[in-house]
Amino acid sequence: MSATLERSLRAFWIVLMVFLYAPLAVVVFFSFNAINSSARFAGFSLRWYERLFSNEAILSALANTAILATTSTVLGVAIGLLLGYGLYRYRHRRLAWLIWLIYLPVIMPDIVFGLSEMTFFVTLDQRFGILSPGLGTMVIAHVTFQVPFVALLVHARLLSLDPQLFEACHDLYASPWQRARFFILPVLTPAIVASLLLALTLSIDDFVISFFTAGPDSTTLPIYIWSAIKKGVTPEVNAIATLMIVGVFLVALSSLVLQRRPDPSDPS
């Protein structure tokens, strides 16, 4: 590679990093501002954080976010894992239509997805009095978009394995339980860890679908931030956003650490 190309590439990379991190950095920086401004910094202060932790609405939004993310992730990964395994195990049984079904939430605009669910839940609630919008419907909606991603990940992992491994299990008279315990679960561990992280970030990143399936008592942090900006109340927003950014960076860090662990199916 020529030196000029290498130098301009490096310069480009630095500009790109500034572009990617400046919006996040500015949020973190001004969350410590002594005054309510995102143009002038008037000294370090923790006042927005103090206001945050004495605000009941924000604390309940924090709790809702945590409940929604963990519940939907556990359910979404469990169900998606089964589906991904089923697609692989019974691939001779004409399950191609299911694969198409799985791609549906991947290509459907999330606003259409969210509005479909909203009208569906609202109608069910009005007609039959079931599934009234709230944390329950939000968990259902999140599981619905997590399952396809998890199933695709697990399916891809199983497809990358040597089919002879499955035959070897059979030849060694492994019971279905033993096969699951000593073969399938261990080789799927990296895919399961990746699925957990993916499902969790999908859930935390989602705003549109949560927004349209939420009820009056199930405000999450992004929804709280959204309505705060719409009302013109911004000072605490930077502080809440900073907490969420820190959370995401911790997840990113843990993923990096987890990925450094050796792959159990890798013989080397």
Binding site: L9, L20, L82, G86, L101, P109, D110, V112, F212
Partner: protein
Amino acid sequence: MLKSARDSLHLLAIVAPGALFIVVFLVLPSLYLMGMAFTSTGPSGLPALPFSLQAFRELAGFGFLGWSPGNLYTLLRSVWQTFLATALVILLAYPAAYYIASRPTRWRPLLLLAVVVPSWTNQVIRSVGWMNLFAPGTPISDFAVLIGLTEPRMGLFPSQFAVIVGLVYNFLPFMVLPLYAAFERLDHAQVEAARDLFASPLAVFRHAVFPQTLPGLMAGTVLVAIPAFGMYVVTELLGGGKATMIGNLVARQFADATNWPLGAAGAILMILATVGGLWVLRRLGRRLGGDREVVL
């Protein structure tokens, strides 16, 4: 016989929960929403019988006061803003993906993560970041005033410019990842051969690099253009009235029951546009790629 029955039961037990979730909570609601487009608008904006094509007439711009091009403009603007954002994302993602792929192997996961991590934060927060940067009085806004881009004492948002920046910011990682995967598998012998034949850098890219990265480019375009076209958050927060897209138009029909059938008709239009876009990309991929396999 008995074994196959047990087998079927096993299949049902592991596939049914996931399939049921998708069918009951995604396919059924979407069909329900689409059906709504063929109803009349009731007194409070909710769907009512009889079935009619009224919503599609309204979507096309026919109202009480005759025809107006408002919805058509929104659709054209959505297509234009999606196109512009996708083109800019491609321009930024190519050097970024190449840079990562040309680093030592042990650095690559970290550099990839550096590109991806910002997209893991909630999209509302990402938009708040840009709102902070583009607010009136920030250095960026002051500079924009100085070069005459915006009025004094005004910020850089809401504007179409802010929307494009927001879209590029949101979707850049979705292009970098597939392009990086393509660059990592690049056959460098082809590049060397082109250089040995005294090809200009542009010709090397055109004949040796571009065809090899085409599958990644196509996959990335699908991952960027589809969600960009349906964008709601960025346009709502950074766009203001002059940069809204079809997703905002549709969503607005459902807020406080403004006009559900019209919104549903808009949703059908969005789905048709998405499928149409996928079809065009597929054709384009085949033409550009020649006999090369382009997976879409």
